[in-house]
């Protein structure tokens, strides 16, 4: 049996690998939640990579429909073609467009399906997929054809918690919540991405990063992906660790902070707090 253990570009904690392996072994969907930027979407990509399976991505929008994941019947083109006397019009199958789930069901090898940000869609969206996810089959009414999965794909679903998902849907999934990484895990994650980063720079940067995350009242806390962007910038600009530690009144916030704090109010708040704490020390 294939097992997922993390990859050389993705650090998976024990509980996460456990969840993924349970989903693979029992061929049931895995629902992933967690703070933005904790690598929910990356997980599916990495799972596919490490298992050597094809990845089929389905990104959900607010106007998305469950049906689009299965197939779409383009009646409008058919109507237009019929007026133009196109021959294609005789066969309805010409106007059936396969969705990502259909592709996954028909795949020669077991596929990994990513259903990204399922909470973006309508409340009813997950309910419309119950049978498809459970039995891994669906019916195409237009061509009266039953599509059944050759191999049950590994389905990874991400949610940003914008809406609560229906119980019936949750019952059919495994659930994992990606906790924000602690310092140690974070160091491993950075290691995986930037193996050659200077130790001293990393130490100071992480210090600053966790300090910012601890600032009460930030509208948007910086996440792992933002830390990685920031480190990349720091390395590109060749900023020395001493600058990060500097107590200089004029440089109260870390250089290139734009990568970490994305909101003007947050920048003001942060400046104010740092200023006050520095003044307290002086």
């Amino acid at each position: 049996m294939s097992r997922f253990t993390g990859t050389d570009t993705y650090v998976a904690t024990d509980d996460l690998t456990m969840a993924v392996n349970a989903a693979i072994a029992l061929e049931r969907p895995l629902l992933i939640k967690g703070e933005p930027g904790t690598g929910k979407t990356m997980l599916a990509i990495e799972v596919a990579k490490s298992l050597g399976r094809p990845l089929i991505q389905w990104h959900i929008k607010s106007t998305g429909k469950a049906q689009q994941g299965l197939y779409e019947y383009d009646a409008v083109s058919r109507l237009r073609d019929s007026q133009l006397g196109d021959d294609r019009v005789q066969d309805i199958a010409n106007y059936i467009k396969r969705g990502p789930l259909w592709e996954a069901f028909e795949s020669e090898t077991p596929a990994v399906v990513l259903i990204d940000e399922i909470d973006k869609a309508d409340i009813e969206f997950p309910n419309d997929l119950l049978r498809e996810l459970d039995r891994m089959e669906f019916y195409v009414y237009e061509t009266q054809q039953l599509v059944r999965a050759r191999h049950r794909p590994t389905i990874i679903i991400t949610s940003n918690n914008e809406k609560e998902l229906p119980d019936a849907f949750l019952r059919r999934c495994f659930f994992h919540y990606i906790k924000f990484p602690d310092r140690e895990t974070m160091e491993r994650i950075v290691d995986v991405h930037y193996p050659h980063i200077k130790r001293s720079l990393l130490r100071e940067a992480l210090e600053a990063f966790f300090e910012i995350r601890d600032v009460p009242g930030l509208k948007k806390k910086p996440s792992t992906s933002e830390l990685l962007d920031w480190l990349k910038l720091l390395m590109a600009e060749d900023i020395s660790p001493e600058v990060l530690r500097s107590q200089d009144q004029h440089k109260i916030i870390p250089p290139l902070h734009g990568a970490l704090i994305k909101n003007e109010q947050d920048v003001h708040l942060f400046e104010r707090l740092v200023f006050m704490s520095r003044r307290g020390k002086a």
């Binding site: 456990m18 049931r28 007026q83």
Partner: protein, 392 residues
Amino acid sequence: MLTDFFFKLKEGGVPVTIKEFLTLLEALRKHVIAGSLDEFYYLARVCLVKDEKHFDRYDRVFAAYFKGITNLPPDLLAQIPEEWLRRQAELLLSDEEKELIRSLGGWEKLMETLRKRLEEQRGRHQGGSKWIGTAGTSPFGAYGYNPEGVRIGQEGSRNRSAVKVWDQRTYRNLDDAVELGTRNIKVALRRLRRFAREGAAEELDLDDTIRSTAKNAGWLDIKMVPERHNAVKVLLFLDVGGSMDDHVRVCEELFSATRTEFKHLEYFYFHNFLYERVWKDNRRRHTEKMGVFELMHTYAHDYKVIFVGDATMSPYEISYPGGSVEHHNEEPGAVWLKRVLDVYPHAIWLNPQPEDRWGYYDSIGIVRELMEDRMFPLTLAGLEAGMRELGR
């Protein structure tokens, strides 16, 4: 043994179902895990708990149930007598504590007591009146009730192991739902979902299509109309502390029900009456406050405002500067309420006090006057009426 665990979870307020339990057994049968307790902790959580807000409850049940076991027997499905479990736990107890357990009426009784304590604590924690500032400490430590066999949150366990995870109760802050009893309220709140036509063009407008196709001399001219989206936006203000303690449970039900109903829902807390500042997190109410002016600038006037409070206080707290029980307010609360009502024309006040008692409190009269009589009791009927008012 596991069936028992299942029921304990149910008792502990984790909404587990048989289907999920069978999934767990299937996973065990397929040897997804090798057999350590840490792994089992994660596996059972992945299978049984479907929302991070229930992680804390799961941790508590798990800690209580598996106390004293570090490795699972090779075949988990073999029934293990509970007696064995009990003995394991008792090994860790001192004579004195065993005596205490006996005095409490035995193990079962102790578990029962523990559960009650935890429930009581959860209520208070959510109410936010007593647990402010103690968030980092163990509830049992704080209460001096600490028989070894069931202590929670004090285990000095190995670093980075799962035992630590459930003892830490990391997910305590995520538990914001009161599941039971929200159904009725949900029904009433649906009234508030008013469907406004906005969003991308999506649905076929058949009438218009026929009309314009005919106009087009038979050549198809497809017309679309925007699809319906739930566009209701709500600001919810909840009174906490003081005289509201009695009503906290009802308010929490309302709160957890509303969270699922709207796309835009922002909630804020206040104490007794609305003044210049409100807050979002009860445990940080003294550090993270939001100015009401800032709030009015942030949220557009098409938000609908719902106040939930018993409006039972001294009239001074509403109509005089400095009347607040917590701080010195420069301007009377009435002025602040007026400002909010000026910005948000659609507003109601839900009052958990029974309607027939409203006449006994001067303050309720004042608030009703300020709200232009848009005060409704926190009952199904009151909610219905209130939602109708908001929907106008």
